[in-house]
C-alpha cells in the first residue's frame, strides 16, 4: 500500500501515488464496465462506454479548470492554465459534473437499466480498487492490526472501505438478478451508504 502524499518522478513530471492509483482504478472500473455490459449483452454497449469515457474527461477538465471557475479573472493570463488546477471542493465538483453528464445521456437516450447498473458497478469497483492501494490513516486504534505511526496503531480505514465495497459488490452480483430493474443500482447505493456509516467512527 502507498502513502497518498508520496510522489515519484516520471520524466519531467512529479506524480503522487494518489493520482496514479486514481488513474489505475478508473482503468479497472472501465474494464469492469466492459465485462459487465458484454456479459449482459447490451446492444447500446458502445454508446454507453463512449458516454462513460466522456464523463471521465468532463471530470478531469472540471478538476483542471476549477480554479478558473472560482476566480474567472485568472482567464486573462493564458499562462495560468499551466499553473493552476484542483483546490478545495474540486474533486466533488468534478465527480458531480461527471456523474450528471452520464445520467443526462442515459435519460436522453433512454438507455435500459443496465446502463445505470453498469455505471454504479463501475464506480464501486473503482473505489474498492483505489482504497486497496492508497493508505487512509484513521484514528488511534485499540486493536493490534493497523498502520503504525509514532508507535501508535491507527485504523487502516482504506482497507475497511475496500473490503466492504468488494463485499457489497459480490453480494449485489450474487443476490440481485440482473433482470431486476434498477435493483443492482439500488442495492449498491444502499451498500455504499451503509459502508460509509460503518467506517465513519474510525476516520479522522
Amino acid at each position: 500500500m502507498f502513502n497518498p502524499v508520496e510522489t515519484f518522478s516520471l520524466g519531467p513530471f512529479t506524480v503522487s501515488f494518489e493520482m496514479l492509483f486514481m488513474i489505475v482504478s478508473i482503468g479497472v472500473g472501465y474494464g469492469g464496465m466492459i465485462i459487465y455490459l458484454k456479459r449482459n449483452q447490451i446492444p447500446e454497449r458502445e454508446k454507453i462506454l463512449d458516454a462513460f469515457i466522456t464523463s471521465v474527461i468532463i471530470g478531469v477538465l472540471t478538476y483542471k479548470l476549477w480554479p478558473f471557475i472560482l476566480q474567472p479573472s485568472l482567464l486573462l493570463d493564458p499562462s495560468n492554465f499551466i499553473y493552476y488546477m484542483g483546490g478545495p471542493y474540486a474533486f466533488f465538483a468534478a465527480a458531480t459534473f461527471s456523474i450528471a453528464y452520464y445520467l443526462f445521456q442515459a435519460l436522453r437516450k433512454k438507455w435500459s437499466h443496465y446502463a445505470y447498473d453498469g455505471f454504479t458497478f463501475t464506480i464501486v469497483l473503482a473505489s474498492a480498487v483505489f482504497y486497496l492501494f492508497v493508505k487512509e490513516f484513521g484514528v488511534a486504534s485499540p486493536f493490534a492490526l493497523g498502520f503504525y505511526v509514532d508507535g501508535i496503531v491507527h485504523h487502516p480505514v482504506n482497507l475497511y472501505r475496500s473490503w466492504l465495497y468488494f463485499l457489497v459488490l459480490l453480494t449485489c452480483l450474487g443476490i440481485v438478478p440482473n433482470s431486476k430493474k434498477y435493483g443492482r443500482t439500488f442495492v449498491l447505493i444502499i451498500g455504499v451508504i451503509i459502508s460509509v456509516y460503518l467506517v465513519s467512527p474510525f476516520t479522522v
Binding site: 472560482l70 499553473y83 478545495p88 488511534a140 486504534s141 509514532d150 501508535i152 453480494t171 479522522v204
Partner: protein, 197 residues
C-alpha cells in the same frame, strides 16, 4: 441458493464485526489521552520544525537552536496566532511565483489572525536566489530556510509549491500541492477556521 445465503451471512457478520469494533473504539477513546500522530496529512498533527529565518543564516552558527529571535518553530508560531499557513517554495519554480502573489494578498487580509510562513526548500535552491526572489516579489510575510531539506522531506515536499493550512491545535486542516489562487487561499483559510471550532 447456498451461495446467496453464504454471501448474506458474510455480509451480516461483517456488519456485526464493525458495530463491535465501534463499541470497542468508544471504550478505548474514553481512556485515550495522547495527541493525534504527527503526519503531513489532513486531520493529523503537523510535524514540528525549528528553522532559521531567511537572511540570518550566519547567526545560526553562533546561536543555540532554541533562540526564538533567530529560529522559528511551529509551536511558537501557533501560540501567537489563531493558525498558520505554511508554504514550501523554491525560487526556480514558476508555480511558486504565481502562488506567492495569492499568499501575499492573503497575508494582507488575514495576517493579523493567521501566521503566514514561507519555507524555502534551500536544499533544492540557493540562499542568494531565495533572498532575491523575496525582494523581487515584495514578500512581507516571514520566510525561513530549510537548508538541509529535512523539514521538506518530513512534509513530503517536493513537489513545490505545497501549502499547509494548520489550525491553532497544530492539526492540518487543508493541504494543497501546486499553484494557489487568491480564492483557494480564502477557501483554505475558511476550512482552517472551521476545523478549529
Amino acid at each position: 441458493m447456498i451461495l446467496k445465503r453464504l454471501l448474506l451471512f458474510i455480509l451480516f457478520l461483517n456488519i456485526g464485526l464493525f458495530i463491535w469494533m465501534d463499541l470497542e473504539q468508544r471504550k478505548f477513546e474514553v481512556n485515550y489521552t495522547q495527541e493525534t500522530a504527527s503526519m503531513p496529512q489532513v486531520g493529523f498533527q503537523a510535524p514540528n520544525f525549528s528553522l532559521i529565518e531567511l537572511g540570518r543564516e550566519e547567526e545560526s552558527e553562533t546561536t543555540d537552536s532554541t533562540d526564538s529571535a533567530v529560529y522559528v518553530d511551529l509551536p511558537t508560531i501557533l501560540s501567537e496566532k489563531e493558525g498558520a499557513v505554511i508554504y514550501f517554495w523554491t525560487s526556480w519554480c514558476p508555480f511558486c511565483e504565481a502562488s506567492v502573489r495569492a499568499l501575499e494578498e492573503g497575508h494582507l487580509i488575514y495576517g493579523d489572525e493567521l501566521a503566514f510562513v514561507g519555507i524555502n526548500v534551500t536544499s533544492q535552491d540557493s540562499l542568494r536566489a531565495a533572498q532575491t526572489f523575496v525582494k523581487e516579489h515584495n514578500v512581507s510575510f516571514q520566510m525561513i530556510a530549510d537548508e538541509t531539506g529535512i523539514v521538506a522531506s518530513t512534509y513530503h515536499v517536493p513537489p513545490v509549491p505545497a501549502t499547509f493550512f494548520i489550525n491553532q491545535d497544530g492539526v492540518i486542516a487543508h493541504r494543497k500541492v501546486g499553484g494557489l489562487t487568491t480564492r483557494e487561499v480564502e477557501l483554505g483559510i475558511s476550512v482552517l477556521k472551521r476545523s478549529g471550532e
